[in-house]
């Protein structure tokens, strides 16, 4: 079946919803999601959204700008960062007016708390910049934006799985999707397509990410010739629940929590003397793993403690209720009485689909624009996060650049004359037909798979290898071994076995397709990591431990070719803050 919309948005997380709300002013908008809209991974964001509101103490967008640049280890593009931090206050006030139930100060203003890497006066001391709704900030904003989208008549299509993206003659014409419940394949033909499909943390064994975060659309675009930018930069969050990887918000440290090692030392004092436990995530992760490697884990084991015992019970109850429940449910501990065992957990992709500041997808290092294709949110790389994202900047990124993409789309749709639109719709649908056939063939061939390999074995091995060799510490030898393993696993997928041969709600089929995407993305991550022979932000090479601005102050672009991955580079946009040593 063919559907026609002016705008098709893939993903119902914060970026997709915010863009939909903006684009809804011109033409019709469809939001397609793998899940029901209120179930997207954005709902699990806990700690906050950053803006220099200055509600709790003096703050300035300029300080936020500086912190974000420094947090990115100077790889973030400063034109984009300035836009984000400058627009932050407006964005938060707008969310509040839409109905987001932010936590409040006694005066009834939006409450704010400390977060990692956010400082006053260019790094002198922490500042309360994270606006929050207890520790359910993502959930609160997703629901509000979803509600507003309903009010504006945005059409939602839940439980559709993207099989292909229709690109012909440097223009995107829409997408091919599988309707999960029926197994039918549909064409969504559109004038403009926005990819807001989120991250891909599932390629790692220990992750805070949802099952659905498998990078499908990135993998598809990469296969269609779009480069992927800065894929070597993947953020680990310092505090995942031990053994599970479930996120314990940085807000826990923002409210006074500290990290302690097996000797009972507050070790962050040694690594970041000024802001200590509120250092950026890349540094805290390395510090934790260094403590563990040197035998100072708890009882010599592979975890450390996040200690909230000294934080007032009232604070924990009011501002950290959700993580308290997690600790009780999954570990059987009460964080106000016992320390929480934590480990770094794969959390956020800084890299992704290259875009300009209006979300237009770029095809190369020269900035050539792919017509009719936009991207925003975690899957996109503007780049505001550079080599390391600061906590509470991801939600800000989604609402600022989701809105900007939505505005650009609205303008583009508005510019189109009625006659031309119609013609393009037909052209788009025509381009989609061969891809539809190809998708059908792909699905038929997967359903026929009767080999010997279990999907789960391949997936688990990938996640184990990625965790072992491509997480917080990396080196060339292990990365090369990893790539060999990934290629070997790719071969093994040719011999998989599927028990479910039916069409309706076949989640085994989806698992199989996702696995291919995960392998594809993992190869790009590992290869990009081999190429970058320096250490910067979240990418730490033990064989090249220094940052090298002379050779590597540039963005990586990975292109798919018939043989090896081709790497090209583009300069970082530096407007205001020159690279300096990164000390906290």
């Amino acid at each position: 079946m063919t559907h026609q919309f002016d705008t098709v948005i893939i993903g119902s997380g914060l970026a997709g919803l915010r863009a939909a709300l903006e684009a809804a002013g011109a033409g019709n908008v469809a939001v397609l999601s793998k899940l029901y809209p209120t179930r997207s991974h954005s709902t699990t964001a806990q700690g906050g959204i950053g803006a220099a509101l200055g509600n709790e103490e003096p703050d300035k967008p300029e300080w936020h700008f500086y912190d974000t640049v420094k947090g990115s280890d100077f790889l973030g593009d400063q034109d984009a960062i300035e836009i984000m931090c400058g627009d932050a206050i407006r964005a938060i006030i707008e969310l509040e007016h839409m109905g987001v139930p932010f936590s409040r100060t006694p005066e009834g203003r939006i409450a704010q708390r400390y977060f990692g890497g956010h400082t006053k006066d260019f790094g002198t001391a922490p500042v309360r910049r994270a606006c929050y709704s207890a520790d359910r900030t993502g959930h609160a904003i997703v629901f509000t934006l979803y509600e507003q989208c309903q009010l504006k008549g945005v059409k939602f299509f839940p439980e559709l799985f993207v099989l292909d993206i229709v690109i012909e003659n440097n223009r995107c014409h829409g997408v091919i999707v599988l309707e999960i419940s029926t197994g039918e394949i549909h064409i969504f033909s559109s004038k403009v397509t926005l990819i807001a499909s989120g991250g891909y943390g599932r390629v790692f064994k220990t992750t805070s990410n949802a099952y659905v975060s498998t990078g499908d659309c990135l993998s598809i675009l990469y296969n269609r010739g779009i480069p992927l930018e800065d894929m070597e930069f993947f953020q680990f969050h310092p505090t995942g629940l031990y053994g599970l990887g479930i996120l314990i918000t940085e807000g826990a440290r923002g409210e006074g929590g500290i990290l302690i090692n097996g000797k009972g030392d507050r070790f962050m004092e040694r690594y970041a003397p000024t802001i200590k436990d509120l250092a950026p995530r890349d540094m805290v992760c390395r510090a934790i793993l260094t403590e563990i490697r040197e035998g100072r884990g708890i009882d010599g084991k592979d975890y450390i403690y996040l200690d909230l015992r000294h934080v007032p019970k009232k604070t924990i109850k009011e501002r950290l209720p959700e993580i308290t429940t997690f600790c009780k449910t999954y570990m059987g501990i009460d964080p106000s009485e016992q320390p929480i065992p934590v480990i770094p957990t794969a959390h956020y992709a800084m890299g992704g689909i290259p875009t300009d500041i209006d979300g237009r997808v770029l095809m190369d290092e020269k900035g050539s624009v792919m017509q009719g294709l936009y991207s925003a949110g975690e899957c996109a790389c503007v780049s505001v996060h550079g080599a390391n994202r600061l906590g509470c900047n991801s939600l800000l990124d989604t609402v600022v650049f989701g809105r900007k993409a939505g505005r650009a789309i609205k303008e583009e749709i508005g510019r189109d004359t009625a006659g031309k639109n119609k013609k393009e719709d037909i052209v788009g649908a025509r381009h989609a037909v061969p891809l539809l056939e190809r998708s059908k063939i792909m699905i038929d061939s997967i359903l026929k798979c009767n080999g010997k390999e279990r999907l789960a074995n391949i997936r688990t091995e990938l996640q184990d290898r990625m965790m072992e060799h491509c997480s917080v510490f990396r080196d060339e030898k292990n990365l090369k071994g990893l790539i060999e393993s990934i290629r070997n696993l790719k071969e093994r997928t040719k011999d998989i076995y599927l028990k479910d041969k039916t069409r309706k709600f076949n989640t085994e089929l989806i698992d199989a397709i996702e696995l291919n995407h995960m392998l594809n993305i993992s190869e790009v991550i590992a290869s990009s990591a081999i190429e970058r022979k320096e250490s910067r932000g979240a990418h730490y090479r033990e064989d090249c431990p220094e940052r090298d601005d002379t050779s590597w102050l540039k963005h990586t672009l990975a292109f798919k070719t018939d043989k090896e991955i081709e790497f090209r580079y583009k300069p970082v946009n530096i407007t205001r803050f020159k690279p300096e040593e990164r000390i906290y």
Partner: protein, 242 residues
């Protein structure tokens, strides 16, 4: 490690029939029911079908009936829900799809109607007054009024457990009524009357008989019946006022 029996009610959409399957799984008592379902899907029967996403009780995807009670599979630890085993028989985890919603396949139910009911109560903040330059002020005590209701994750456990909904498919259900509460009691909202009108129809508020099944099944421990009672109180007050 301990051996558990997973007894799962399954629905085959091709043959349109229900059946019960049993699987033996070795698991730690601290593991989640969802881990057990994953293991069955990964290593015993790839066709077993269920929804899941975040894995820690926020997205609301994996609500199902576990040992007779609606719960999230990702939030239920085996040690907390295990049925009593005997020397001969392993503890059993009985899993069924949510009641009262049409079953699509195995543990997956059709939630269209559930979400559509939600749309009926004007589930968005309505305030046509020109907004101030900064945030609308809301005192902590004003926010306290909606604090519990905003934690709803729309998993469907409550509505599926409600005997009124079982007998009246047009009943708005606890989830939608809770949503109405969330906006009516938000100090920033201005559409109390419109919304009350939506929820006081024949299939609305007054059909709730305070059975408390919704409260018992809510994975976020929201006192839904209590919230509905507040709505009833407000509706009555407004009726006598006019």
């Amino acid at each position: 490690m301990k051996r558990y029996t997973f007894r799962i009610k399954r629905f085959d959409p091709e043959k349109e029939n229900f059946r019960w399957d049993e699987f033996s799984v070795d698991m730690e008592p601290m593991e989640r029911v969802l881990d057990g379902l994953d293991r069955i899907k990964d290593y015993a029967d790839g066709s077993l079908t269920f929804r899941r996403s975040c894995g820690h009780g926020i997205c609301g995807s994996c609500a199902m009936k576990i040992n007779g009670r609606n719960r999230l599979a990702c939030q239920s630890l085996l040690r907390d829900i295990e049925g009593r085993g005997t020397a001969r028989r392993a503890p059993t985890v009985v899993i069924e799809p949510l009641e009262a919603f049409p079953v699509i396949k195995d543990l997956v139910v059709d939630m269209e109607d559930f979400f559509e009911k939600n749309d009926l109560v004007l589930p968005y903040l309505i305030n046509d007054e020109p907004p101030p330059e900064r945030e609308r002020l809301q005192s902590p005590s004003e926010q306290e009024m909606i604090l519990e209701s905003i934690t709803c994750i729309m998993c469907g456990s409550c509505t599926s457990s409600c005997p009124i909904y079982w007998t009246d498919s047009q009943y708005l259900g606890p989830s939608s009524l809770l949503k109405a509460y969330r906006f009516i009691f938000d100090s920033r909202d201005r559409a109390e009357e419109e919304r009350l009108e939506k929820v006081t129809g024949v299939h609305g508020l007054w059909r709730c008989h305070s059975i408390f099944n919704c409260v018992e099944s809510c994975p976020k421990e929201i006192d839904i019946t209590g919230h509905i009672t507040e709505l009833k109180r407000l509706a009555l007050k407004n009726r006598f006022r006019s």
